[in-house]
Each structure stands twice: as structure tokens, then as C-alpha cells.
Point group: D2
Chain length 330, copies 4
């Protein structure tokens, strides 16, 4: 009821403050007998680690996943899987001035309004480090639906835009998750310049899903599109969600929509129809600007690091709905 | 688990097929002792009734609310409130051809994929009539937070656009819920022309909330923005959600956002901050086009009738989060 | 959160006050495509109806089930099934004196403590009529697991005791649900005498389940025994629950238990093991005694009418756990 | 949905296998700003530790609680509180023979039936060590309702019986939690003799609660008695639950019950009425008997160590229902 859990059949419960002893997650609802690879899990976590992408924060957080339960001799037991990441490299002193500071768009002020108390160090519970829990859960969700391909990529970042829907979901897009990989150097320079100016920028991410089972999504309230929207808006920096033609439909006639292939992005009546799923979300620019933003630890654009978090949440929703639908196949 | 319930502390469970005996809702979690007015409840239902707005469907559905439980001598008992609306005026024969037909963007096909069976008459469970349950719940949610003002209005409908955020939430906007009421006749003609052409159109709705308590919303997953997104995307025709500056932030610099008043639409860190809440959603055009759309029962634009549904869902989210937050004030 | 729902995958939401317009239930989670017989449903309801058993209340409540949704052409749709029973034959005036009266062991006083308001007529929400919702749900739960046999019977009622565990679950036990049917007349006379004295009596009910699937029950908290205990203690008059050898084990040595066949009543580690399930519950005597109890409407022993309610709750728990377990079989 | 969580407003999610890296619990729903004492928490854990009571297992498990999140500068933050206990002293090799062995009354066999895989070492997930999570949660539940006194004690253990309801809840009962502390030496000898014989014994525990708020418990399904029953039956060795006069009422007349003070153990209509709460549960004898039971690690009677677990579950139910009731006080 305090909002730290997500999912019904495949559920994660997240915990941890940025500068407390550890961040962690308990995942309940992973079927028994699935093979687990700690290396694969760690690889996912490393994708969101700072300091690995030029223009992203240089903190070396060294986020090593430790599995505390639920896996035995390389297989899931069907029992809850707890994974923690120790907060080893946090410099709390750096954050002392934040004690009284309330960053715009951040939870600093509203946390005090809500609880009357907070751990101000590094954003405390509201830190981006909380998304570690989601990446871990996404890894296990992927085990439930191994055939489903989920790909998120940057479709807009400053002057860089990729309008078409990605065709080859197997292509590697790193490090900026922008499909036109030839423009890597340009993006790098753009982000470095932003940082030098103490500036940040927002952007847009598109998500494509292939090979999803049909029939996922529960009307009336747990429509697949509704649960995707909730999952993605639960990421701190996300400010919009749309699917299929999305906002364009505000100005379209019904006949034009009818004549567009996959206008509804793989979901009709809130239920997956087997076509390619397409969703789009907007990220706000990070709040920290000015001299502070020029310091090492701040990202001028959070999106590249958020890509694995986005993919993870989509996988969690799919796994959850798959298990729900599976329950009623008797 | 079948998705027919919404909300945790203030929860509604919806039931009913469009051409079955009745639609209905059970609302659990309304505090005891609140005064109920059947007239006020009926007035809310009438706002979404077809045939009352030119250019909207001419079916006279006569949706009379019947309270079956939870209210005694004009007061809520704290027990579940069941309300039904009999489906008195449905002509099932009209829908016989739908048995084999699958309208694009509708649940026709995916319902079969999911359940292997459906009540095809009038959309069955996926009919827009299901939203009656939400309007009823919205009325009771309003009793929980009587001081909060929730207003939804059309900000884009074909060539008609109202860009500014509505200032006076008490102003009456009927019948098209477009703020510039002088353009009523133009809108009427526009919709009539669309209908004559067998055409439909999408649009945009903006929601403004004033006087909300601060501290509503539960990080990490039940952020207020996330629950609003889910609530609104659970409405069949809604294809996008954003809040505050929304999609504009994709192309904005951090400094520009920081310099914009209420850029985050009343929510920071997923928690209400006491400022005016602002959200925007997109409606797709209705699927029925061509000769069929020229018949009496079809709306060329669903939005005017959806406005009370949108307001209701927002109220439900607020009431639910208010009770959740209240629980922990010890 | 107000406690009117039970079950997770197979869930019922109950509503209604005894003297309001109707009692009802919404059942969400019944798989699609199951055949429904209104006659069978009505037969279950009739088993708990008053006035059909000598020594039980003579109110002719005429509880006719009306299905409002979820069933189409004799099959379940997979959508929520709403069933109501109109409260046609209630004489509210009879209950006027209850307005200020608080019967011991009843919810009269505590309802006021909790809500500050109540519908006093006929017990309002706390009336035994609420159990109609459970019997309806039990019918649909039975459709989910048609091969499972669930039988509840009176093992102790005043001087009448049946100690052995019932062998033939198909035998008809009506009207008192006491296995030794030759003693019907004695029981009848015993209950009539009790009534003439303005007296009531408690008793014991045993439940036996055959053919349950193995593997039902979820450690750690949703052990099958724990959910049975909750389901059965949620019946107003039930004051104890045990399973297998139950209370006898308080005085037994481990070796003696090990040497007893099916000592744990079909559940080990909280999970069904395929053996016959055996549970025992105690009913308190009804609270109404003295001159009032001599009036027509009062039962000297509630148990015979409660038998279908007990069976229904057991079926609901089994259906719910079966669907939960089924979800994870991928 | 896998049953590892308990409670709605005050909820705990338990994880861990007996011989995995750690056992743990995440508690969500503790209000912000409460003072936490690690010493007090540890003291509760030590009460269930083996080897501290003669006749109980001599494993020195050294269960040191480590708080990972949710507490900052000695106060609760309102964020999830994660606590782990490392499994430092487990000798997995001792359990190798258990791989193929299925102890009666244990989860050994049914775990395989359910999951098809298990961690056999020390009972794995079904080990009594799982109850650590409950004791931790009970400590935090106690912070929510500091004025409530919850006391569990042994009312029957072999030839030792204490029939009266405990009057002074502040009295210290250690080490066997039997009220008549003069009989300590007798009990010690009795348990030592049992162990020497490779025998075990069951028993009975009574729970008394004073100073509970009135109005706790939610009809129809989440009656306080129903949630207590579930909470206590979720403890592995518990095989019965009753409250108030309990099973005695099976043979009582209504007039006799009416004339008994507090016959319903502080709960009427499933709601607390302010009187002393009284509940009784039965423990089965531990399954391990014969030569194996003579080894060091086995308890001839589990009850003394289970007392803090029982108290913890009762506190969790009370805290959960208190927050639920508080939510609706607007």
C-alpha cells in the first residue's frame, strides 16, 4: 500500500535508500526450474551503470548483484528471489547541502510534505538508484518469456531524431541506444557540450516488442496499455506515454487511422493482438542545471542509462500478464 | 486478477455486458456517514448519456441508477455500495452482423483471442457502456474529497483548439466541453458534417485539478502520475497521457524547464505538491467509419461524452490516494 | 480494503444489507466457456434457505438468484459474474426495536464502534443473509474443479455425535446434514424442544474433500490450511478451526502422530498432498435466547442452514489456489 | 501471489532458504517518524533463537539482524524496511540425506509436488528459520501500536497445564513461557527425558491482548478473528485456532454463553470490542522422532521458541487492521 511493489502474479518489491547499506528487490512469482545466469543479470545491471557512457555520470558505482534467495544450483526454486546491491561507493558528505535544498521536479520537497522526514543523501529513496530493482526484475521477467523481444531506443535526443520504427530488434545500439550508430561521435560531442554549459536535455524513447503472446491484458482496468502506462510513468523522469500512432491520432480522421497498418501498436481493446507492439515515452531533462551540473556526477541526459530500466518494466508487465492469462487456461 | 477492479482503499469493481440485464459497479471503501444525493449521481450519469448532445449518438439509453446497497437514510454506511443500471433499451438484433465482424481498434478480435467466447451484442463487456461504472464511482469519490475541483475539457477537436490552461474551473462548458463556448454552433456543424460523411475524428482533453491535498502518491511504483496514467489509459479510446509540460519536454533544455512555472503539473517525485495539477490525454477517432457511421447510433467524436468518465477516474485516483495517505497519519 | 472481497485469482465481492433492495455478489476470475445451470445454482441457494428444515427459521425468503452479467447463452464469458437476490420478503418493522439493542456476540455494538452508523434492520450488513454471496460463489467455484468432492456435515449437535470421518461423500444427508439419517426424528424433536424453551445450541461441523489436485497452497503465508481457516472463520458463527487430528495433537507424542494415517488431513507444509482433506469447525450457539427466540424467525441451531455456506467457502479456496498454481505451470 | 507476503496496509514480504546466503523480510507500511531500537529488535529475535532454552535445539545460529533500508538516524522513513539475517552457521552437509527423505507432516514431499524442485538443505524455504521474518515484522508492528499488550504463553505442554487466562501480561514467563514459573525444573526434566527417548510432544498456546483499539476488523471476509486465524495457521506447526470460549461452545447452550463474561474473546461480529482478546492455538509435535531426534539439533517441543513468532503475527494483524481502520477516519 506504500507503493513499493509492482505486479500481481509476477511481483517485485523494491527497497533501499541511495546511501543506506543496500538497494534491493524481492521478486515473487518466478516459476520454478528456470535457469539463471548471474553473468547475464550483471550485464543488465551494468547497462544502467554510470560512467560507462561518455556524457553520463562518472560515478563508479560498481553495482554488483548479490542473490540472497530463490535460486539453487543455478535454477529458480519458485520461492521469492531476493537480490541486493551494496551501496559501497556513495559519498554522503557530497550531499550535505541537499539537506535543505529542494530541486525542482524532484521528490525533495514532496517527500517532506508526505512523510515529514527523509534521507536527503543522494535523493534517498527517490534516487535513480532505485531503478536497479527494476532491472533485476526485468532480467527474471525475461526468463518467463524468453521468446519475446523487447527493445527500447532513443528516438529523439536534442537534434538527433530517428522517426522510423526499428526493424531489426537484434541490432546492438550501444552506447547511446540511438539507432543511427554512425552519429555516435556527434551525440558524444553534443552531450559533452551540454555538460560544459551546465545544461541538460530531455528526449524521447520508443519501445518495440516482438513475439508477444496474444490475449495479454485484462479489461476493464488492467488493459495492457494501461499497465504499460503505469509501469513506464513510474520511472521518475518519464512525463508522457503513448502507443501506436499515439498523439498523432488527436488530429486524425477515423478513415485515416483505419488505413494505417498497426495503428494501435499491437493492442486492441487493451489486449495484445500479436502484431508488433509500439510505445513512445518522453523523458524530461534532468533537474540539475548550472554550475552544479558541470560537476562529474551529473548526467546532461539521463536517457541512455534509463534504456535498460524501460525495457525491464515492459518485460515485467508482459510476464505478469502472461502468468495472469495462463492461470485461466484450464 | 481479471482486471475488473480499480483502486486499493477506494476500489470499484465493474461488471456487465452492454446487452445483458444490467451494468453495475460495487464501490468498496467509501467512508461511513457521507451524505448521498441520488439526483447528483443521476446528473453525472446523464452527462455521459447519448442523445443529449448534437452530433453524439441518438440512442435514448435512459440510464437510471439504482442503488442496491451501502446507503441508508441518505448516508453511506461504510459497507459496499452497489449501483446498477438496467440495459432496457438495447436492440440486440442490430448487432447480429457484428457476430463475425471485428472492428479495427476494438476488442472484437482480441476478446476471442483471449477468452475464446464473447457476447458480441453492442460490444458486450467492451462496450462504452462499461464506463457507467466509473461515473458512478467518480460521484462517490467526489464525496471523499468535496473541496477538490476536477475539470476536464476538450482542448483539441478537429480545427478547434484551446491551448491555455483553463482558469475558472467553475465555469459551465456544456454541451461540448470546449472552453470557448461561443464556438458551439461551429462545433455542432463540424460534427454533423463529419457524420454525414461517415467519418470520425480524434482529439485532446486536458484535465485540471485544484485544491488537492499535498503528499498524495506513493513512490516508487504508485506515483500519482503513474496511477493517473493507468486510470486514464484504462478508458478504451485513450491513446496517450502526459502531465505538466508533457511531450514538450522532449525538446526542452533543463534550464528552460526550471524557468517554467508549474512545469511538472502539480506533481514532483510522483507526489502532489499543492500546485494546480495539469494532465493531457489523446483520444483516437472512433473506429466506425463509412456507411455504418452514418446511422443514428454512432458518434463522430466520442470525446464530449467521455468527459465525465475522465473526471470520474481522476477523482477515483485522488480519493484512493487520499485514503492511503490518511492511513499512515497516526 | 473494507473486507468485502475474498480470493485472489477467483475472487468474490459481496454486497448488500439484509433489508436493503438486494444482496449480491460479483465473482471475478471464473474461466471462460464453462457451462452454467441456473437450476443448479438455485438448488444450492435453496439449501441455505430458511423454513425448509424443521427447527430452522420459517421465514419464506424466496431467494431467487438473478444473474446480471458474465453468462451468455449458458456459458461463462470470462467476465465478472454478478448475481443478485432481491430482499423481497423482509419485514423491517419487526426490527425497529433492534435499533437500540445490541445482541451479545453480534455485530450490533461493534458496527457502531467502527462506522458510527448502521442499518439495524435484520442485522443490516452483518445479517446471515450475507452468506448468500458465498453460496453463489461456491457454485461457480465448483465449475472450476468439477472432479473435487467437498462435503460438510454435522459431527456434533447437542447429544448427537458422529465421530468417524464420512466415507461416502455422495450420500445425501439432508435435511440436518447429520450422517446417521435414522436419527432425523430425534434431531427434529430436540430442536423443537430447544425452540420451545427459547434456547439455542452450538455444534461441530466436519469437512471432507476428495480428489483435490496436489500442490495447492502457497507457503509461507497463504498455506492452504491458513486460507481455509480464514475462509471458515469469516463465517459469523464459526469460532474454531482445526485440520487433521487437530486439537488432539496438543496431547500427542510425535511417534503417535507419525503412526496415524493421514494425521495432517491431506495437507503437509501447507500444501495439498492428494490425501483426503479433513477439517473441523465449531459453531457457537445463536445469540438470540429467551422469549424472542420462541418467535418464528429464529433458529435454535444455525448449523444445518450453514452447511452449504461452509462447502461453498471450501470450494472457493480450492478454486482460487488451483488457478494460482495453474498460473505458474509454464 | 506466491504467498510470501502478509498484510495489506502493514505488509511483510518474506524471503530466504535456510541454507542460502540469508533470510530476510521487507516491511512496507510502517508509518514515518517512529523510533527504532536495534537492541529491542535483536532481543525479540534472540527469544526464538535455538540453544538458549534447555531442551531446545543447541544450534548457535547467531541470528544478527541487519537493517538494510527504511531507517535513518534511528527513525523510520516511511519507506520499506528491509532486514536480513545471514545464514552463517548452517552445516549443509548434515542435510544431504534429506535430499531423498520426506518427513511426515513436513513440506518435503509437497514441495516437490508443487515446484518440481527444492532446496533440501535444512528444509530450505520451509525451514522454521523463515519465522525470523515474522519476528522482525512483529517488532515494527509493535511500534505502530505501542500501547497494546500482546502476550502468548504455553497453556498445555505434556502434563503441564495452565487453564486460567493470564491476568498480568507484564510478568516475565521465560524460559518456557509457562505461567507457573515454579515448575521450570520439572518442564526442563520432562523435555530432556523426551529427547533422550527420541520423542516429541505437541501443546497448546493461549494469546491474550489488552488495550486494543475498538473497531478493528473488516466484515465480511477480513473479520479480525479470520485474519488472526490465517496469521496463526500460517505458522508451520499450528493445527488449530479458536477464540473466546472456542471449542467449548460446540456443546453449550445459548443462554450459558450469554451468561459468560467475554465469551467471544474481545471480538463481536468480527470486530474488536475493547475487551480482552483471547485466542487459543494447538501445536502439533515435531515430526522428527527416533534416533535422529536424539541428535543435538532437534527440539522435542517447538513451542517455547515459537512464542515470539505467535506474538509477532498477532501484532502484525493488529497493526494492519489499525491502519486500515485509520484510513477511513476522515
Amino acid at each position: 500500500m506504500r507503493g513499493n511493489s509492482f505486479g500481481k502474479m509476477f511481483s517485485l518489491t523494491s527497497f533501499g535508500e541511495s546511501h543506506g547499506p543496500a538497494m534491493g528487490v524481492v521478486i515473487d512469482g518466478v516459476p520454478a526450474g528456470l535457469s539463471v545466469s548471474l553473468e547475464d543479470l550483471q550485464r543488465e545491471l551494468d547497462r544502467r551503470a554510470p560512467g560507462k557512457i561518455a556524457g553520463t555520470t562518472s560515478r563508479n558505482e560498481d553495482d554488483k548483484a548479490v542473490i540472497l534467495s530463490g535460486v539453487f544450483e543455478g535454477k529458480t526454486l519458485g520461492t521469492p528471489i531476493a537480490v541486493i546491491v551494496h551501496n559501497t561507493n556513495q559519498k554522503s558528505a557530497d550531499y550535505d547541502k541537499l539537506k535543505e535544498e529542494h530541486r525542482p521536479g524532484h521528490a525533495d520537497k514532496t517527500t517532506m510534505m508526505k512523510y515529514g522526514i527523509r534521507d536527503h543523501r543522494g535523493g534517498g529513496r527517490s534516487s535513480g538508484r532505485e531503478t536497479l530493482s527494476r532491472v533485476v526484475a526485468g532480467y527474471f521477467a525475461g526468463l518467463v518469456l524468453p521468446q519475446v523481444k523487447v527493445k527500447a531506443y532513443v528516438s529523439l535526443l536534442g537534434p538527433f531524431e530517428h522517426k522510423e520504427i526499428l526493424k531489426d530488434l537484434s541490432a546492438d545500439l550501444s552506447p547511446y541506444s540511438f539507432p543511427d550508430t554512425k552519429r555516435n561521435d556527434e551525440i558524444k560531442k553534443y552531450l559533452e557540450d551540454l555538460k560544459a554549459q551546465g545544461e541538460s536535455v530531455g528526449g524521447r524513447v520508443r519501445i518495440v516488442v516482438e513475439n508477444s503472446p496474444v490475449g495479454l491484458g485484462e479489461p476493464a482496468f488492467d488493459k495492457l496499455k494501461a499497465d504499460f502506462a503505469k509501469a513506464l510513468l513510474s520511472i521518475g523522469a518519464v512525463v508522457s506515454f503513448s502507443y501506436g500512432l499515439g498523439e498523432e491520432m488527436a488530429q486524425m480522421k477515423g478513415s485515416a487511422v483505419s488505413n494505417t497498418a498497426n495503428a494501435f501498436g499491437g493492442m486492441e481493446g487493451g489486449i495484445s493482438n500479436g502484431e508488433k507492439m509500439v510505445m513512445t515515452i518522453t523523458f524530461k531533462p534532468t533537474s540539475t542545471v548550472g554550475d552544479k551540473a558541470k560537476e562529474g556526477r551529473h548526467d546532461p541526459c539521463i536517457i541512455p542509462r534509463a534504456i535498460p530500466v524501460v525495457e525491464a518494466m515492459v518485460k515485467v508487465v508482459l510476464a505478469d500478464h502472461f502468468l495472469r492469462q495462463n492461470a485461466y487456461q484450464i
